[in-house]
Symmetry: D2
């Protein structure tokens, strides 16, 4: 007797698509059988008829900021673990990985992890979750003593570093030291790659010229800053032969640089996000809506600061060439994983709209960088990727679930619909049944806007993902070593030195 | 009650690896269930204990020449359908696609297909099989009338053309006309890409200089001829936006050219074969064995013509850079499918060794091009790819089974271990159990040598693949339209013209 | 006592720019002295005050069709040697090289060369001239016996072949045989690179769709056909290590392919022409003028066939990217030489406008391909290149005179203003003195239109080049071996074979 | 009456080669006439018969360290202005540009320039000289006030910065600020591009493993550090559209990155030096001689620290691919200028050999980086470049004289043999007359070794350059704005901002 039987759908994995006369039997939180034919009437406590729609593995969103400490001074990220995972679940995402961030003055990571556990436990979560560790002060003690403990005890198998933001950026030497440890431990290293000095020069120049409207944000953070930092990270990785993931790749130049490295078998991976596929910087113009839609301009009166809703880093790009190149990376395999970079803050803020409109004076540099998006990620890609025939539904599964699982050490439990795996399952409507515009009223986060307001979607996880999936609250997931990028790749420059020393 | 239950193995698909406590239930020639845990004792007529080894989808070898008419004047290819499929099965290959070739004077393809059906039926086959059609005289009647019929009635969904060999090469205009039809019909087009004029110039020069030993074959067919033809095929494909597969890619330059096209989302696919991963042209030298092993030279006395055993086209390459580049393509995804190009002929021939040693005079130009290899393909890749840690076992499955299935219209039945699919299954020994050298005595083809004589293998399909798989003889497989390369890719140059004409 | 003294100008060579207080003394047709300061009053029979303008070496136009036999059936090219060289001289060109073309049935080149000598001598020429030989039937006799004779006796050190046009195209094997000879003899090989089969397929498709207006010509001859043939020519050249010049490069893809070869030290050279820098295919639209100007459309009524004035091969390109890429090649050094491809025919023709408008029915396929342009070449590049600050005046000299001289074996006499060189000199107006629109009335050819009608030029050779330069008529120039591309480049593939044969 | 007449030589410029029957008349320090024929007997005070040898413009060596303050703590560079210019002259170099370096604590550049003037004047110089300014502390005062003054008053039109060495490296923001000024002023910016953090990590690793012999220096400064910094400098340049010169390019990867930028018309220039063309790191092995020759090993006993003679930065490379790539850059035009990077120190030093062998313990990190080479630069390139047929003699002139002149604002006086230019002239022996090995005894610097000891040269400036050239001592040369890289290149990112601000 199974707890749940799902039948009459097209089960999609990266391997194949099962015909509709196949059914899945679930017991507890595991898939325990898959069988041919129609399910017998008496084997399940509950039955779900997928009605011919796709059945895909639950989404894994590995780039989510929830209740993150001091994202801006005195302020945490806008969504709690509770509201963020509710939103995730409603959009088909059944596992998220959030960030536990070190501040420059933190000398131990242990209290931070405890604090994030508390935060997640406070009101529970709707889906499974894990933590990445952000490092800003990589002392020897932290690198050599704490990281191995966190990996083994807590299953934290990934680290993130920033090459930008005054409060967070780490220098090349620190990056190298971190890489040496992630390589040794088999952890995944995520890098936010933008050259801070380049960005700051342009910001200073913009300020001198009194150009501080939201849309100037896109000018400030030029693609040149992204490709420089991307190349530098790749060169550092080459020196120590350490796998890295460049997060939220947004430009043609960076994507192309990463592809070249991949062609040469360097362990360089790329992440991108819906905003870089679907919106351009022009949406931040005073005449824009603060969303990427192509509606008329009649709504936009007196809304000149709406563009601040779209401020994220890297920014929406000015050139359609960049957007096309990100799509190309999605299609040709350069992109390893597709995340939301959900990092929301409210538009209405006591200090002024997005904190950047104070006393009538717009200043994009005061706006917290980041968008909400954990709920809309899968429906947008299903619509603009699969149904508009840019990618196959199998590639959809690959970048939203299978590869994130393999990249971050979840492959033993998640990323596929298969016997023995977690019963993280999304059922979609058959093509043609759904067609509506996204509106913030229908979303489940705690933020007062969505950047994708007005975007048409032509599918959505059935019943907001809520009726299916694991019963009860989500749980913390200890992760293992991922399988991506840890292949043997010959002797590294430093290993060679060690060998010479021994000879 | 299942006909067969397989348990206690690691089921591998491109999507995930199932743990050992999963079992498969097979009825007839289909997989009908997969379940968690140990199989009950009373559900199967027969049980196989996989003993912890990998369980992979049956190999699909899409480049096999069997009993092919007039491969050389008055002579057919060395293996029959019976002996060739016996050899395939013993090496873990459960489906082959062989070639039905048009001669220049053939004005209809129908009698040819009938003849090949007769040949395959004569003594039966050990595994499933299908036919590709080779075109050398693509008349309008054949293109417009016969191809659609062959696709629909016979399930022949692939065509092959040659850019080399006087008797077979087709010109650019003919290639374009064929591409227009394969695109329209959704057929897969295979191209043997070598510039014949370049090759002939070098051959003439070699002959003038009396350089006609077997190893001169590698000089004759320079990589320049391969990359030129590869680029030309890609340009022709670009003009009409027609997917193509470059078969048996052997050089760094050709591989790199294909990768560039793939990066730009052009529907260009690549095949390679074991010989291009494992052997260099030096093995054809008089001091070589006629195999790629690194044994001592004591065996090689008086064996100066042994190199002829390795004559194939494209040839084994002279530079290790080429071999490394083919491996790189295997690893980074450039290679879509991995085949044997099994095209054997006996070394001992009444007209002299390989027909090329007549009256003591060696002449490589008289040697039929082609090697046996259908049986050794999977064990070699499992050994030198997976177990030597160049590729993952999931990538092994991808290039030997999953992608061949999708590329050639078999994805509805083959390429994955999943409920509803054909029960084409290979069980491997656990790592460490097997270690032996390949020797022709142990192979099942009807050829008097193997080019891989003496190559160590560290795994082999359990019981020569014979105890598992579909009972009885193989059957002819009607294929459907593949899924690779037929995505929407915007308006083509010719479509634009049609649109202009309508405007 | 010098025949002529030129002073008070800025002498420009690729090496340096001399200050205005330098003067040149000329005796006969040679520069015999250059001196500092103002010229003494009594040293010259004649004095020219350059008034502070540039003094550049006389233009060398190495791609000029004059009185060419049977360019179209029953018809020769529009300008005679007399009218063509008059036009050249008026535009600052002091040396041209015209084509002597073999027809398929011609079994000897000698009578052809004689005929062209007769034609040139008939009414004399205004500037120096030489002949390239076009081969369409490269028999062994011609290659092995005649070419060496023509080089030695006639100073014909260059060959041209076509990869397109049914009546002229040569196959890959013939190209290779020709390359072997040009390499051995040190001749320069010019290649018109377009894949004829690709072009013909599109033309057939256009005709089937009744799209035969002039502007459809640009669609017919797609850049894909150019880059395919360019790559093929480069591959053939690689095989035999023979220098080649791709003439009239018009597209981004072809330019980029050539650059890659140059980066790798392959002896591949590029020519381009003014039309590919200044006009796009849209100028051929019915609403265009048949010129590249941006005038209003009021003049264009009933002029729907004017676009035929711009039909040349390769065609004007549709994308500004191509035009930009050709400029890039001009600036970064990819382009070795800048020619006119002067190949004119009258717009008014007894058989209908350009022979392509017959009985009211437009058919671009009947229009002779080619534009007049020998006179406008230098002023256009001086205006749009130098004065609009895309290239330096030294680069202007390099591509219009110095490199053409070195490429075609004229470096012993031409290409520089220096003591001992031919007194081929162009004096320009100081910047700002000249500004007018080009109009056919002011040109000196015998054609009834110019494609550059209405183009503004901001400089022109002083007095139409007529008062300066060599007195009297031009003479035939015997050329020697050029210096470009004949450096040592290691052993070739064929040389290696010869070496092996000897070992 | 000319002070000097030179005749009977082949005058070489980048534009052409004059025949031997041309003569040059010199008055004072200027070329005042060039004439055809043999010189009359009574026009010159002195005559030099060039005897059919090449006559080339005097070498310009723009990368020379002489008497440089505090190159190592408490120590200046090994050659004085007197000895260094003596050595330069003897090797055919008639102009050098030396470095005036700011220390971190220097708040004004003026006293530094005065000090260097004093040093140069102390004992006079044998050839002309100028100064580059090295910046390590680019304060606003220095950038905005002093640089314009130094350019205008002192003719210092070039700046150098370091991305490596703890005491000298400047950060990205400082580089950007400097680039903004050099662009605005039209100064040339030289960059030593190596990533210091990468180098330091490897050095630390080497020290931990006790690997500090001279040859470990090449491992410490990996090509990865060079290409990273090169790319970063190019990206920074792109942001502000400022021309830069990457000095002493030594690796394939860096050369290739520069070429790509040049192909795209970015104003990126490259310098290389003889050591990167002629020697590999293996010459630093204990079994090496401390020179790049291929002599037997019998001389090398007890010379294990000889390798320190070859320590420079970037180091000699380990792979022949790097050396080949530098040659390729010399040939295909990537390299703009060819310098010596003469930066010598004595091998015998009171603190131990090269200061790096103290108490029997070798430590390459204590060895001052740099080689002597100002005298051998031209003969080595004439021998290994021109006479071994890698480059033409015209390219030799281009990289040793013409382009250095244009790059550094000397083009109004130097870089060509032409009327009105400085009489900086080198006369070479006719091919075949000279053949000897370089030995330090025959050189004119004050250093106790040459890294090129034992290298065969097949030409040398006649009479050690001493009988020809400008009489008397060299003088300081005020430079103007160069002509390389200052073309218009469209609106920059920052200019766009200014424009937006105005709109």
């Amino acid at each position: 007797m199974y707890d749940l039987v799902i039948y009459n759908g097209l089960i999609v994995t990266t391997s194949h698509i099962s015909p509709v006369d196949t059914w899945i039997g679930i017991t507890g939180d595991k898939i325990v059988t898959i069988q041919s034919g129609k399910p017998p009437k008496d084997v399940g406590k509950r039955y779900i008829d997928a009605k011919g729609g796709y059945i895909t593995p639950g989404g894994i969103d590995t780039h989510v900021h929830l209740q993150q400490l001091q994202v801006a001074p005195g302020e945490d990220t806008g969504d709690t673990f509770e509201s963020g995972t509710r939103s995730a679940t409603a959009g088909g995402t059944t596992t998220i990985i959030a960030f536990a961030n070190q501040q420059r003055h933190d000398e131990s990571l242990y209290p931070l992890v405890e604090e994030y556990h508390r935060r997640a436990a406070a009101n529970g979560t709707w889906c499974d979750y894990g933590f990445h560790m952000i490092l800003t002060n990589p002392t020897k003690k932290i690198l050599d003593e704490e990281l191995p403990v966190l990996f083994e005890k807590e299953g934290i198998s990934s680290i993130k570093v920033y090459m930008t933001y005054e409060a967070r950026r780490v220098g090349d030497r620190d990056m190298l030291e971190i890489m040496l440890r992630t390589r040794k431990l088999g952890m995944t290293l995520m890098i936010h790659a933008e050259n801070d000095d380049m960005v700051q020069l342009v910001i200073d120049h913009l300020k001198e010229n009194d150009l501080t409207e939201p849309h100037h944000h896109a000018i400030a953070r030029t693609p040149l800053a992204e490709v420089e930092a991307t190349n530098r990270a790749i060169c550092l990785s080459n020196l120590v032969s350490s796998p890295i993931l460049i997060v939220h790749v947004s430009s043609s130049a960076a994507m192309s640089r990463i592809r070249t490295a991949q062609n040469d078998l360097q362990p360089i991976f790329a992440e991108t996000c819906p905003q870089y596929l679907l919106m351009l910087a022009e949406a931040m113009q005073p005449s824009g809506h603060g969303c990427g839609c192509s509606h008329g301009t009649e709504k936009t009166e007196n809304k000149s600061f709406e563009g601040a809703k779209l401020i994220c880093s890297p920014p929406l790009r000015e050139s359609k060439d960049d957007l096309d190149a990100v799509w190309k990376g999605m299609i040709n395999g350069t992109v390893t994983t597709f995340s939301s970079d959900h990092c929301p803050s409210a538009f209405d803020h006591p200090m002024g709209k997005k904190k950047g409109l104070q006393g009538g004076k717009a200043d994009f540099t005061k706006v917290p960088n980041g968008l909400p998006g954990v709920e809309t990620r899968l429906p947008l890609l299903m619509t603009y990727g699969v149904e508009r025939q840019r990618i196959s539904v199998q590639r959809f599964v690959e970048v939203t679930s299978t590869q994130p699982a393999h990249l971050y050490g979840l492959q033993h439990r998640k990323g596929a619909i298969a016997v023995g795996m977690d019963a993280d399952i999304v059922i979609w409507y058959p093509p043609g049944e759904v067609k509506h515009d996204i509106t913030n009223d229908n979303l489940h986060h705690s933020i007062d806007y969505t950047p994708f307001e007005g975007f048409e979607v032509s599918n959505w996880p059935r019943d907001n993902g809520g009726l299916v999936g694991r019963a009860g609250l989500g749980t913390y997931v200890k992760r293992i070593k991922g399988t991506v990028g840890h292949e043997s790749r010959g002797e590294t420059h430093l290993e060679r030195i060690t060998r010479m020393a021994r000879a």
